[in-house]
């Protein structure tokens, strides 16, 4: 199962705060700029980012957000990241970029590697010589520190 498929499949359960079924355009009006911001963080090339943005909101996977157990925002975040990472992988397959070698294991750095650079938690753990559970814990620490700011 790839990241896009994972993005479309949430856990089974009741929707937590889902008001109604939204169309692609309604979701775009609500979360388009947030999704574009996320895509640009992963893929700074503006034209490519716009193509990915269109593909996110034209994707049939977006309709699965209607049955997603969390909010549309969470679903859009997942989908935007998955599509942008997929496009970035295609791009880096053509022109590989330098490896991340800073060895910084701060929550911010781990979040950047996993979310913005598109590495899986296992890959991040391997790069930084730490366990996967430490990587996941760093995500918690990252958002905890954000909440406390």
């Amino acid at each position: 199962m790839n990241e896009l498929e994972r993005a479309g499949n949430g856990v089974n359960g009741q929707a937590l705060s889902k008001p109604k079924t939204l169309t692609s355009l309604e979701v775009y009006d609500l979360y388009g700029s947030m999704a574009y911001g996320i895509i640009l963080q992963i893929l700074p090339q503006v034209h490519l980012a716009q193509e990915v943005l269109v593909s996110v909101f034209s994707s049939p996977q977006l309709q699965s957000c209607n049955s997603y157990p969390f909010t549309f925002a969470a679903c859009v975040i997942k989908l935007a990241r998955a599509k942008a990472v997929e496009a970035k992988r295609k791009l880096t397959a053509l022109a590989p970029i330098g490896e991340h070698t800073s060895g910084d294991a701060s929550p911010q750095s781990i979040f950047d590697l996993a979310f913005r650079q598109g590495f899986t938690p296992e890959e991040v753990a391997g790069k930084l010589n730490i366990s996967k559970s430490e990587v996941l814990r760093s995500f918690h620490e990252f958002f905890k520190s954000y909440r406390n700011v």
Partner: protein, 153 residues
Amino acid sequence: MSKQEFIESGILESHLMGLTSEEEQEQVAEMMLSDRELSEYVTELEDDIKRYFAEGAVAPPEAVREIILLRSIREKKGRSSYDSGQTTDTAQYLNVEVNDTHMKVHKLWRPAFIAVFVLSKIFLIAGLYFYFKSVAQQEEIEKIKTEMQLNGK
């Protein structure tokens, strides 16, 4: 794993960002179904994550919205014609206003136009040739007539 340990493990954050495996997704589902407080915590966490990413929001160009709108209309039309099992002529196409002065014709018109052009040139040259020839003959006849009149005198 206790609830607090589960929260601090970071699985929930990873799950909301699409970084969890299937096994971890199932674990999250089980924990959320069994614990209402955890569900409430996830809702708060979602708000935090949404707020974090909303801070980095960038307004996309208006053209992107237009493209998404066109695609959703096309999809809707495609879906409705598929659902009804009818394929009417109007359902297959988008009504697009074309501001173009060009027209398309069958490709056989090209050799036909070339043949008409070549024939017109041949007739024009032939016409000019016979015109000048007749003028020259006319002059020759006039000249002979004049000579004959002079000889008769």
